[in-house]
């Protein structure tokens, strides 16, 4: 694939011609708006929004339809950060990491600042992700192809070290939380043998615990239970937006983390099968590791918000790399989008760059424009959601509860999921009261199954020989990273215990 030269310019012009019309621009605008609103409703994930939009695209021209879906996708990923910051409930799984610092900032009366930073950071990451897609698609795609189960296993193993970064004060409590997450993630059918695990022959349990139900249960329900437990707030939590808007200086100070997060997003997004949530957490923990204000992370550090949002939006453009260059959908959302391609008789893959180059470059152009739309729609949305912050808690919390129940039900139309949400909610409540951090639970719940599946697939490939886990440079790279990180964590732990001993 030759991206430079005359053909490149011609394609860009042809693509521009495809996008520069009212329908395409309107589709993008509508898509981003729908996405932001859907993302902002807890339980209404970006995936659902894209799935529900799909039938509307059948009658559109290919480029308009796909741009509409992409708009919804991008809007949804950003929209999720609004409730994450304002009401401690990630609107989509991707914005779970944003809760960690976004909500404490809101409690300090800096909701406007946090939302503003989330928006700026999202748009920057989105732009970087789109540019990477345009410039490095071929290169990143061949890289993604070299990611088999052993490489995946080592990458996930390294990602598990994030747990140390989001454990807060006590590493031990972090591990406890992660262990619970791992345990609950094993519920369901065994990958290789198909036998039930902790399913007690119950059909609902055979499907495993619904991720959205666990997510809402873990973050939103404990807050509501706390409110019920003690309705008279001793300290009135201030979540006013105020005049406190993000400044350019703050953006500049977080710029490094945003860029780092964007590239983590691009990198993880281009590998099919990981998704935005791990990327956000990895970006967050890297930002924390490099920051001089390490102690402030988790207590309302603006850089934490910037890093998380850069991490998840960085994925958005990059997931199209395996889709367009290889025809492989990277996650559920791109699997839906690939359906939209096929309905129109387009078959994504290397040949599409030749046969339908104009459409591909039209998409590229459209995506760049979508970053701009995201900025404006996001700004309006933040101002609109300002009112959420002014609602008294006695009204707001019951409303959140209703939204959670409805959202949780809507994911899979299952009352069982609502039950799961409440059970996890009580676990989360106990964890909150004993200062057990929730983030390690969530990370383990996401990464645990990936780790296990890839390990077992690798073992199947090699006939149970462990040597496959060090089969190439990628695995060596991640093993080295993992070892360095673990050593650093242990050393920091020893240092910590020494200082406490002296005190």
């Amino acid at each position: 694939m030759d991206f430079l030269g005359d053909a490149f310019l011609q394609n860009i012009m042809a693509g521009f011609a495809l996008v520069a019309n009212v329908e395409s621009i309107a589709a993008l605008g509508i898509g981003v708006t729908v996405g932001v609103i859907a993302g902002a409703i807890p339980g209404m994930s970006a995936t659902m929004a894209v799935a529900l939009t799909l039938p509307f695209t059948f009658s559109m021209t290919p480029i308009t339809g796909i741009l509409l879906l992409l708009g919804v996708y991008k809007g949804g990923i950003f929209g999720g950060s609004i409730p994450a910051i304002l009401i401690k409930t990630p609107g989509t799984p991707a914005s779970s990491a944003t809760v960690l610092d976004g909500h404490p900032m809101a409690e300090k009366g800096q909701a406007g600042k946090a939302l503003g930073m989330a928006l700026w950071s999202s748009c920057t990451a989105d732009l970087i992700s789109n540019l990477s897609l345009i410039m490095f698609a071929g290169w990143l795609a061949s890289f993604a192809l070299s990611f088999g189960p052993p490489e995946f296993f080592t990458l996930i193993l390294f990602s598990l070290t994030i747990i140390a970064g989001v454990s807060g004060g006590s590493l031990l409590l972090g591990f406890l939380s992660a262990a619970m997450g791992l345990l609950l993630a094993t519920i369901g059918l065994d990958l290789v043998y198909g036998t039930g695990r902790f399913s007690f022959n119950d059909t609902n349990l055979m499907g495993g615990l619904n991720f959205i139900a666990v997510l809402i249960g873990l973050f939103a329900i404990p807050e509501i239970l706390t409110m019920v437990w003690d309705p008279s707030p001793k300290t009135e939590k201030r979540t006013k937006l105020g005049d406190n808007w993000v400044t350019f200086k703050e953006y500049k100070s977080c710029f490094k983390s945003i860029i780092r997060g964007s590239f983590i997003g691009v990198f993880l997004g281009s590998i099919p099968g990981i998704g935005a949530a791990p990327s956000a957490f990895l970006s967050y923990s890297e930002a924390r590791r490099k920051s001089p204000n390490k102690e402030n992370f988790g207590k309302g550090e603006i850089e934490g918000v910037a890093a998380s949002e850069a991490g998840n939006n960085g994925v958005a453009g990059a997931t199209l790399i395996p889709l367009l260059a290889l025809g492989i959908p990277g996650d559920v959302i791109t699997a839906i989008i690939i359906g939209a391609f096929m309905i129109h008789g387009l078959q994504p893959g290397p040949l599409m760059f030749v046969t339908n180059g104009d459409i591909i470059y039209g998409l590229f152009m459209g995506m760049i424009i979508s970053s701009i739309f995201l900025f404006f729609v996001g700004s309006v949305a933040i101002r609109a959601f300002r009112f959420v912050a002014d609602i008294p808690r006695s009204l707001l919390f019951p409303t959140i509860l209703i939204l959670c129940v409805y959202g949780c039900y809507a994911v899979n139309n299952s009352i069982f999921d609502v039950g799961v949400m409440f059970v996890i909610g009580w676990i989360g409540f106990v964890m909150l009261r004993y200062n057990i951090p929730a983030a390690p639970f969530l990370i383990a719940f996401i990464l645990g199954p990936l780790l296990e599946d890839n390990f077992r697939q690798a073992m199947l490939m090699s006939g149970s020989s462990a040597s496959i886990l060090v089969r190439g440079p990628i695995t060596w790279f991640f093993w080295t990273l993992t070892i360095i990180t673990v050593v650093a964590i242990i050393r920091a732990g020893i240092k910590n215990s020494k200082t406490t001993a002296i005190e």
């Binding site: 039930g196 495993g208 559920v332 839906i336 096929m342 309905i343 006939g463």
Partner: protein
Amino acid sequence: MKIKMIGAFCALLSVTVSAPLMAAEYPDRPVNMVIPYGAGGATDISARTIAEPLTKAVGQPLVMVNKKGAGGAIGSVAVQNAKKDGYTLLFARVGSHSVSPAMKATLPYTLEDFRFVGVYEINPVACAVKADSDIKSMADLVSKVKAKPGTVSYSSSGVGSMLHLAGAMVLKEFGIEKPLEAAVHIPKKGGGAAAAAVLKGTATFICTNSSALASFVKNKQLRPIMVTTAKPIVGFDAPTSVDLGKPNLQQLVGWTGVAGPKGMSDEIAKKWGGYLKEATSNEEFVKKMEARGSIIRLMEPQESQDFINGQYKIFRALVDELGMRIKG
């Protein structure tokens, strides 16, 4: 979007509220259509594509409900236990209604628990290897499995999926006595990941719906080595199972159909036969489905039942012979 969801919710609510009132003429209110797989999958797209002409035929809104999980079992159970009044129906699929019942001993339902009103879509199955593989034909594949048992692997979308059974069935038909030992089954989560595994070299071959492979074949990333239908498939430059002298493999096809719980009245089943007939004669619908590599062929209720039972029996016999039944 939100309004739409609320609308769907209200519709659901009204269904439960008004259920006891016996209606004059079926259907007099919206019908719930359960899709037992997630959004964006083959079943989901097929269901949502037929929903449009089908709504016109039924004359009442169809509420599409995704209930995914456990290989289609959760949604299927929901319909199995639903009222038999014809207001809750299922989009049944090869995986949930012939492979899973054949393979899973713990499955909470059997084929007897459903009344099929029509199979409307057939998905041909194709087997493929990576484009740069030294395997050029089924004969190459079989001789490689025989020469070095345990080195050839095939990917699937999970245990108990059609892909899982297909890999074993194809090898068995081609004379590999114990395909489960001779070739390694690598389960992935989902059909997309299964095809990608072959592309990455994680697995040697895959047998799945031709629609899932079409773009890889067109882009010359994968090489088809066989299609299981009697007729060749457009775009797949590979011999058919009949060409290769294995006509039994014609049974290995994917399908989508509509089913209600057992005991649903003859009258309703007959009506649905008519609705499906009207929907599948919609040109727009046929065009969309064929663009995805499906064959639109409507079977009458009885024919559907016989077709599914026949496929189940063949699968079940194979599963028992190879000891593939999942008991735990």
